[in-house]
Symmetry: C2
Subunit: 481 residues, 2 copies
């Protein structure tokens, strides 16, 4: 049961008005990470709730409390929960999205005002939030509008969970989801059969994809301290154990140039890929050139495409991010820093958890530090972490998304895992115990957190059709079930 033709026709015919809707949303600079713009996040939430109500969705705002940012206390933007449809014969799909955006200023290097949606000759819709994540949210509103205007029944019951703090750590959301889930049939998410999140991107700029995995993270700070204050290398060089020397040495023991993780036990936790998996990576519409184009240099760790893609999606990786407390400016300064902290993180894949990784890192660093026979002191902190997530990509929700992709784009989607994290994914999966599907609307080159963020018009319009068609395919399953 694909979507009715009049639905897809309506979408095509109303493209201009849908772009206007997106322009209205982009014009509200709902930057959650900047105190002075916090009120705009609230304004965006109210605007969104108004749209939902107009389109027949029952909503409630949930106060998530206060938090402290840059030393000042702020009210958190509300979560906006929505509900439309209650038929016991239909599947219930929970939609997640976020209505806040990353910071943006013209002076960062934008070609146009970031909060004015501009349509380029090439079809790019340029503006902050166009692809991350206002475009996808507008897609859902467009689907609702089409059904209301055409007098069509929705093929599923819908629940919505929109937040305004995703770009600033999703504060308060986990607690809300867990508490609503704990209410069971009295909670807002009662009866939810699956979750659909449209907040990531195609691997490339050509091929639609469904995403079924995200890596987790374990972030570490290793501090080596010695003298009571910074010392002058002219006076102390050659007389004392220097913290930087010790820190650099232990940091050098963590990972090899080619990315091999040297912390014993970490890589070993991950099973080798199956033949089926290897074939899947080989088939992905992505090349070494795509990776190197994105990085802007020929620096891929291998010429084996499946190996490089698995490096991002299927294996853990360890990156050294920097050092706090050392000299970091331009020029030459002859300081012996008193206390220096190396920052590094390990991206995790199933079955790894931060809880399992932390003692391995701790023990190994202590072992390597012990070998130095230094009189400096070392401490290791686990700054934050998150578990990896992986969904069953043969679940009926993924099957529905696959059929919808074939219907709209005329081709089967790629199946991808992402190298980064979207923590709420795991919260939904664990709290509700249902399948979560990541169904991206935008392309890999959209520049979600960069200057000149864009969403291609074709991705916006075809993506709106995709979201609607996905609901019909889910509906067809419940009809057949």
């Amino acid at each position: 049961m694909p979507a009715p033709t009049k639905f897809t026709t309506y979408i095509d015919e109303h493209a201009d008005s849908f772009i206007k809707r997106l322009a209205e949303a982009v014009a509200i600079p709902s930057v959650s990470g900047e105190g002075p713009r916090r009120k705009e996040v609230f304004r965006m939430g109210s605007w969104l709730e108004g749209q939902l109500n107009t389109l027949g969705v029952k909503t409630k705002q949930v106060d998530l409390g206060k938090h402290t940012m840059d030393g000042q206390e702020y009210q958190l933007p509300p979560a906006i929960l929505g509900k439309i449809g209650d038929s016991p014969n239909k599947k219930t799909v929970l939609i997640y999205g976020h209505y806040d955006v990353q910071p943006a200023n013209k002076s960062d290097g934008w070609d146009t005002d970031p909060f004015t949606l501009v349509e380029g000759d090439d079809g790019r819709l340029i503006g902050r939030g166009s692809t991350d994540d206002k475009g996808p949210i507008m897609g859902w509103l467009n689907v609702l509008e089409a059904h209301k205007a055409l007098g069509l029944d929705l093929p599923v019951n819908l629940r919505f969970c929109f937040e305004g703090m995703e770009e600033s750590g999703s504060e308060g959301l986990d607690d809300l989801i867990k508490s609503e889930a704990a209410k069971g049939k009295d909670g807002w998410f009662a009866g939810v059969d699956c979750v659909c999140i449209s907040d990531n991107y195609w691997l490339n700029s050509r091929t639609p994809c469904l995403t079924y995995g995200l890596r987790g993270l374990a972030y570490f700070k290793v501090t080596v301290s010695g003298p009571a204050r910074d010392l002058h290398s002219g006076v102390f060089g050659g007389t004392v154990f220097e913290p930087m020397t010790d820190l650099i040495t232990v940091m050098s023991k963590l990972v090899k140039s080619d990315g091999t993780i040297l912390v014993p036990g970490v890589a070993e936790m991950v099973p080798p890929p199956t033949k089926e998996e290897l074939e899947m990576y080989d088939k992905l519409d992505y090349s070494i050139e795509d990776i190197e184009d994105a990085a802007g240099a020929s620096i891929a760790v291998s010429s084996d495409k499946a190996k490089v893609l698995m490096g991002r999606m299927r294996y853990p990786s360890l990156s050294l991010h920097g050092i706090e407390g050392a000299f970091y400016g331009a020029g030459a300064k002859t300081v012996i820093p008193a206390s220096v902290s190396g920052k590094f993180s390990i991206r995790l894949v199933p079955p790894q958890t931060p809880e399992q990784i932390e003692p391995l890192v701790q023990k190994y660093l202590e072992f390597e530090f012990g070998k130095l026979n230094t009189k400096n002191k070392m401490t290791v902190e686990n700054l934050h972490g998150g578990k990896p997530w992986m969904a069953d990509h043969k679940h009926w929700s993924f099957e529905a998304a696959k059929k919808a992709t074939e219907a709209v784009y005329g081709r089967a989607p790629d199946y991808t895992r992402e190298g980064g994290s979207i923590p709420v994914t795991l919260t939904f999966a664990e709290s509700l115990g249902v399948n979560v599907l990541l169904l991206p609307m935008g392309r890999g080159d959209d520049g979600a957190h960069s200057t000149n963020e864009k969403l291609d018009k074709s991705n916006y319009i075809e993506g709106t059709k995709l979201l609607g068609t996905y609901l019909y395919e889910v509906g067809a399953i419940s009809q057949n079930a």
Copy 2:
């Protein structure tokens, strides 16, 4: 021929007026490194010239031109050259000092206003420049005043070279010294037999010393670059060669925790200490506890005192100062920096020169980087350098200073080498081809560049006697010669 008793008596009797002179000098905030205070450096130069003229010294101001600081052009403070005495039967001693000071603000943590000289109950004369370098310059003025007041002939001819940019790189001074030296008998430094610089400190707070060596420096920046821009470790971790990983690895190959330099050929250039030298280090009034007190922690590389002291004075050392381009803030950021530059420097001792060291470092880093088989690129820059300096500490100028120390302090001085650099020392030694003596006035705990900089009253007054007595001992040599 020690100094006449009436000279030393005069110094004791006029201590209060000498402290007042120092207070006047300290009250002029001649901070060379701060644009808005540049005019105060000029005011200080004029004040100093006035004092010299009043005390019978013929002077000239030398315009050193302009320079750029923090993007703005400034006039350099003048060098003030002075001359008194022209007897062919006397030795001619050239005195160097600097009349500019380090920045200081009460809010940095000073207990008192830094530009008001305060005398503590414990005899400390607290104020910016008290010990670095206004105290020693006032010492010379005090000597001149005593001779003028007492109608005594100076035992030597004196030449003075005072600059106002020492704390900001001594800009323009090298050229002046070289050009005056090149003028030979027509230059301001014609006939100079030796140079005396009072701009360093005792090793401790107990024992006067004479300093006959300074280490040189070779400062390096090693840059590893890969991607065209910073990358997100979620997206790229595990797929590309990361510059930080490569940089940390090559930096870890430079020096061991105990300070052993791993660059082949560097340590080998330095001959082992003679038995006589070892005995000298053993006899120095300095302990491991002194080093550790100064560092504020028990982190000396050895419990062997001579070894630790030689680590500062007689051997090269390699310190890792920091990394430019990596994440350096607090908190957690999952960046893969695109280009990172490690900063490190090697303190040099004779016979090492920066020119010899640079190719050794370059070759070794390329060798170690080559082993990585990375696709990132590495460059090595030598940011700046200076040769080490060492004087003959059995020269008659040192003998004179030794006798003067015994006369004033009742004990033989320690003979020390400094771990840091005073570049003008080398310029005088090489341009004039004469012995340079470093004859410190202050103590090791004076805190020259720190808050609450001080000069002990006893060091100021006895130090003034020491400077005068040194001239008499030099004079005695010329009488005997």
